[in-house]
């Protein structure tokens, strides 16, 4: 059994970590939090130059042509530094949609730009509060044009194009959902930035008024394509979450060693020690579950559905758990704007929702386990 990353993959991790420590210190995240730029453009450019935006994109389309394990490694490192870039939208979603369902022409058009960071893609799915189901997809597609509103769309303000889930047949069912590629700088598209719980990752409301759209994949296949891509994105996002959880735990540990109260380091109080031990437990379980997800993703296993939901639920819980208790460990300092704890708290809660919330993934997990139990 070899349930570990290889030496080459560990080397890639070191490379990514060194790069990100230099290019994405907390000050860079804060720059986006407080500045007027919606994301860190220099970092984005650098990620493209390193090849990190095209890890799994085939070489013929300008990518590195590596596997998903390599992408998992990069995802974790980006999560550690809570990189303020549209990585998830463009790499885990838009790229995956095009790889999964794009025509040769679509691949040739978009993949090289995605790999280089010259184009940012995103996925426009939700149309308001509540879990997204086939029934809530109301945005209409007819005659190659879209009409309706998507909110919130991650990175919708900065993306060059979006994969849009739209209704192509009347009724509520999933057979009426299809996918389209829409260039967001064209006519018929208006975008407004919406304020979110994590301003280091921008979101938008996108209104489509007869915007020109090109079908992605077959009509009526949208929902099943989405499910497949979401499983893949769930594993990748889970790695991002585990990276963040680990870093939040380290911050808490370091502070517990340094802060003194009642004449001793607060890390010598059992209430604090045990809180940190529990954070370690959830981060460790999540990491092991992520490895399971990575294995399933990289081998194309039929267990991917179960593994993805397992990794996603576990990593969501772990990052939320670690980021909130990181604030608790820091006391009043943890609640200040000036300390970095809130950056992790914000990001953990944003990532918990981005790809469908915890309860949605819990449902998916149990559905899949149940099917296996019956079988």
């Amino acid at each position: 059994m070899n349930f570990e990353f290889s030496d080459e993959q560990k080397q890639l991790r070191n490379e990514a970590r060194r790069f990100l420590e230099a290019k994405c210190p907390p000050a860079a995240v804060r720059q986006v939090l407080e500045g007027s730029e919606p994301f860190d453009r220099a970092l984005w450019k650098g990620l493209g130059e390193m090849g990190f935006l095209g890890v799994v994109i085939p070489e013929e389309h300008g990518g590195l042509g590596l596997g998903y394990l390599e992408l998992c490694v990069v995802a974790e490192e980006l999560g550690r530094v809570i990189a303020p870039v549209p990585f998830g939208s463009s790499v885990f979603l838009a790229t995956e949609f095009i790889l999964a369902a794009g025509s040769e022409a679509q691949k040739a058009k978009w993949l090289p730009k995605l790999a280089a960071g010259e184009a940012i893609g995103t996925f426009a799915f939700a149309e308001g509060a509540g879990a997204v189901t086939p029934r809530t997809i109301k945005l209409q597609a007819s005659g190659g044009a879209l009409t309706g509103v998507k909110i919130p769309v991650a990175d919708g303000d900065v993306a060059d194009f979006a994969i849009v889930a739209a209704r192509t047949a009347p009724g509520n069912d999933e057979r009426g959902v299809s996918l389209f590629i829409v260039e967001l700088n064209g006519p018929g598209v208006t975008r407004e930035v919406v304020e979110t719980i994590d301003p280091t990752r921008s979101h938008a409301r996108i209104s489509f008024a007869g915007a020109a759209a090109e079908p992605l994949g077959a009509a009526g296949e949208g929902w099943s394509i989405i499910n497949g891509v979401f499983d893949r994105a769930a594993v990748l996002t889970a790695f991002e979450q585990v990276g963040g959880a680990d870093r939040a735990l380290e911050m808490a540990r370091d502070y517990a060693l340094e802060r003194v109260a009642f004449g001793r380091p607060i890390g010598s109080f059992q209430a604090v020690k045990h809180m940190l031990a529990d954070m370690y437990v959830s981060a460790t379980l999540a990491r092991s579950n992520c490895y399971y997800g990575a294995w399933a993703l990289s081998t194309g296993s039929s267990e991917l559905g179960e593994a993805a939901a397992t990794a996603r639920v576990s990593a969501t819980q772990a990052f939320q758990h670690c980021s909130k208790n990181n604030i608790q460990t820091h006391g009043g300092m943890g609640f200040t704007w000036a300390f970095d704890c809130h950056l992790y708290y914000r990001r953990s809660n944003l990532l918990a929702l981005n790809l469908g919330s915890l309860s949605v993934w819990e449902d998916r997990l149990i559905e899949r386990l149940r099917a296996k139990n019956v079988a």
């Binding site: 394990l69 890390g267 059992q270 020690k273 529990d278 579950n289 399971y292």
Partner: protein
Amino acid sequence: MNFDDTPEEAAFRQEVRTWIQANAPHHLKEALSNAGFGSGPTGIDTMAEAKAWQKKKAEAGWACLHWPKEYGGRGATPIERVIWGQEEGVYSTLGGSFIIGHGMCGPTVMAFASEEQKRRYLPPLAAGEEVWCQLFSEPAGGSDLAGLRTKAEPAKDGSGDWIINGQKIWTSGAHYSDFGILITRTDPTVPKHKGLTMFFLDMRSPGVEIRPIKQVNGQSGFNEVYFTDVRIPDSQRLGAVGGGWQVSLTTLMNERLSIGAGMSTGFPELLDLCCRIETANGLAVDDPAVRSKLATWAVRQSGLKYTGFRAISALSRGEIPGPENSIGKLVAGATMQDIAALALDLQAESGVINDPEISAANARFQAMLLRSPATRVEGGTDEILRNIIAERVLGLPADIRVDKDVPFNQIPTSGARA
């Protein structure tokens, strides 16, 4: 990243599988599979069957297979031991009474006894012919093991023997054990960790009295053991006089290395129940409130499983697994207790019935309810395990110990017996 055996591992697995297929006590499979957690299979003489299976394994070289051959093992690698465990599957549960002997006493004897003693005691221990127990905990020394008070004093007759007086408690299997490893206090005038000495002894020595303790679940797996002027030859001392604490660390460290299929949490059994039992909202598995809990436990169960796989990978590469292994019992114990509570809740009024003949799922969840509290206590409580993670994994300061540097006989105590 893969779950595949190396060619050597695959060949070894095939050899194991073939042998088990030909030799396992297949007639016990059903009883073992249906056993309630911690209550053992019903309708069979478990100890006799366990000894028979262990002997058969020993004769073919499959007992304690990671031990050297001359001590009754096979000289197998750690990864081969894991493969054996995976293949032995449900039959491994027969060996519950040998876990302490094989996992803790044997390695301690191996590290500290004389060559002659190792050749005398280890092979029958491996073969299940002689059972060993661990006489560590006392009324005044559980988590605080070094607070123990059982005295060992040199015999006055100049024989060099030691005379033992005192009491142990919670000694699992003392009533069926042939030998035990015993930690005692030989010097109360020095700080508590410094005045301890380890021995092994024949449980039938004059002056040893064993009284069973009835547990929460009605069984009596553990005992009080009283020592009244029990004589132990100095040759049965393990380690230096005053070196008992270091010896006990060897014993406890070996626990960490015994990794197997991962600890069970009861989750697969609960999922199965939820797919069959009705709540007011239809099948339990369809109830959103139930689902959310199921999902939380599912990811814990799977997290433990794959944490175990990571440890096995480390072994497979010839490394020592990291500290992430210490989380197993901490996670499994609490999860099992919660799972038992939900399983009974779903059975509603009938959840009270604790009879394998008529309860849902063979009363396995009732057994789990009544046994799981012990999992959170035995071999290091949840709180002690959190301390270990915090201190040894995360590097946080040790608890402040007011008694650390004080001579043992000057430490204030509650209910102390001199």
